[in-house]
Amino acid sequence: MIETDQLTRCYGHLTAVDALSIRVEPGQVLGLLGPNGAGKSTAMRMIAGFLVPTSGTARVCGHDVSREPLKAKRALGYLPEGAPSYGEMTVREFLHFIVRMRGLKAETSYRRFDAVVQQLQLEEVLEVCIDTLSKGLRRRVGLAQAILHDPPVLMLDEPTDGLDPNQKHAVRQLIDVMARDRTILISTHLLEEVHALCNRVVIIARGKLLADATPAELEARSRYHGAVSFSAPGSGMSQEMLGRLPQVASIEVDPLDGRITVFPKPGERILEAVETLLREQGLEVSEIQLERGRLDEVFRQITTSDDRAAEVRA
């Protein structure tokens, strides 16, 4: 479990993390979402015990990171931003170093080493210097380092940054498998990742917590939530008819591909009504879609409510 209470960090006059209180339970994958410079990494560094909070507390598995740093660090697997590792070492040497630092028993360490190397597909690069590895491989080495001691709590700062789509998929599967009985906190600015991985999202900007919800709840805040979109050539007439439906709030036409999106009034469901109308008009509809809501739009809406302040910080 990860708990933070009023966690705050200032750099001079700048407040990088502002009274952040979050709680992640076992079985949860919490996505820490925010624009660049929002304070995601700073928050994680405090939870990992690298930075000392200006005020507030963070606990990992009940251990306060300031009072019982070693116990907290033992319970935590942490992938720092950019997945730093010792470049002059080979992958095998580096992982052995982590084994020794973590004080793993010989038997456990062999089993874990083999398991992790297999999970992250590092077999072929074990004897290669980390310096010469590609960005994606280095990230996987960093991940291997983080999960080597099979920690109950995992904190990953942008785990799939720099990976190709296949590698992203592999890492997400790995996190999915690990998520069952663990507490996982990942930071990301990739919205697709939130869909693929997280069962809870915390959005922060300028160090402040702005939203704490499930991905579905966030999508429901989008104005696209419940909207119906379709492509139908020559549907000029029916647009007017659609606008007259009592549940419909507005209609937009994409100027590029002519795709029509019909927005409902709040709390209304319009899919059936739209379908019925189109059928009555005898229109050829190639494809019709009920929108779940757009995370990117919600993200923008939440994080840019105070644009000018954000620009000053950037």
């Binding site: 690298f50 010792y86 973590r102």
Partner: protein
């Protein structure tokens, strides 16, 4: 295996993977040999001892120890591995100690590899091997203090060059501070007692005492305490950086 040991082994390995170790060993061995025979008038003195050899060590350490220690923390801070290291379950003291011991043991190895000169002097005459042993001990202790200074100042900055220059500067101050010329320079401006106190801070004075074969507890304590003091300062610096 304890974290100190793990850090120590990693550091030592990194010396030998990069050319640092070999460059250091070669330069140290060549220079200590050349300086002893040419600058130290090893033959002309006609004495079966290693005084000229040990007399060169402070000056060799002045250049070579900062070269070893400059990367100790600066490189980790710059490369981001500091975050990795300090989020592993070890205390700052353990990390500092592991790194210090690695560098100190490495210099011990360099010292041990100067054994041909010991064989030479034994072949040429019959020196007091006790004094030579004391010389080696004193030299190694002094190297320890230099390494501790370098470790502390490397924690101060992300730049290896800055760490090198600061370390060399502090070391040269500590070597020269007890020299008569320096003390005379200040004798007019400062009270006698202060001058005497400052003179006792001199590395050279304590090292020369040990190298003469006089194992005084005060000289040993000087090196022990200055080493621990600088390491402590380094740990405090690292801790301060986490809050800043």
């Amino acid at each position: 295996m304890s974290p100190v040991n793990a850090v120590l082994r990693r550091e030592l390995r990194s010396y030998f993977v990069t050319p640092v170790a070999y460059v250091f060993l070669v330069i140290f061995l060549v220079l200590s040999g050349i300086l002893t025979f040419y600058a130290g008038d090893y033959y002309e003195r006609g004495q079966a001892d290693l005084q000229p050899f040990f007399a060169m060590h402070p000056w060799l350490y002045l250049i070579l120890v900062p070269a070893i220690t400059m990367r100790m923390w600066a490189e980790e801070a710059k490369g981001g591995t500091l975050e990795l290291l300090l989020t592993l379950p070890l205390t700052l003291w353990q990390a500092m100690l592991g790194k210090f011991l690695a560098a100190w043991l490495f210099i011990g190895l360099a010292l041990a590899l100067t054994f041909p000169i010991w064989i030479t002097v034994n072949y040429l005459g019959s020196p007091d091997n006790g004094i030579i042993l004391a010389g080696y001990l004193g030299s190694w202790l002094m190297a320890g203090s230099f390494v501790a200074i370098g470790a502390c100042l490397s924690a101060l900055t992300r730049s290896q060059v800055v760490a090198f220059i600061l370390t060399a500067l502090v070391c040269v101050l500590l070597i020269l501070i007890g020299q008569p010329q320096v003390l005379d320079f200040f004798s007019g401006a400062l009270p006698r007692k202060l001058i005497n106190a400052v003179a006792h801070l001199s590395m050279l004075r304590h090292f020369e005492a040990i190298a003469r074969g006089v194992l005084d507890v005060r000289d040993l304590l000087y090196f022990l305490l200055s080493t621990l003091g600088w390491l402590l300062a380094g740990v405090l610096l690292l801790d301060l950086k986490r809050t800043r």
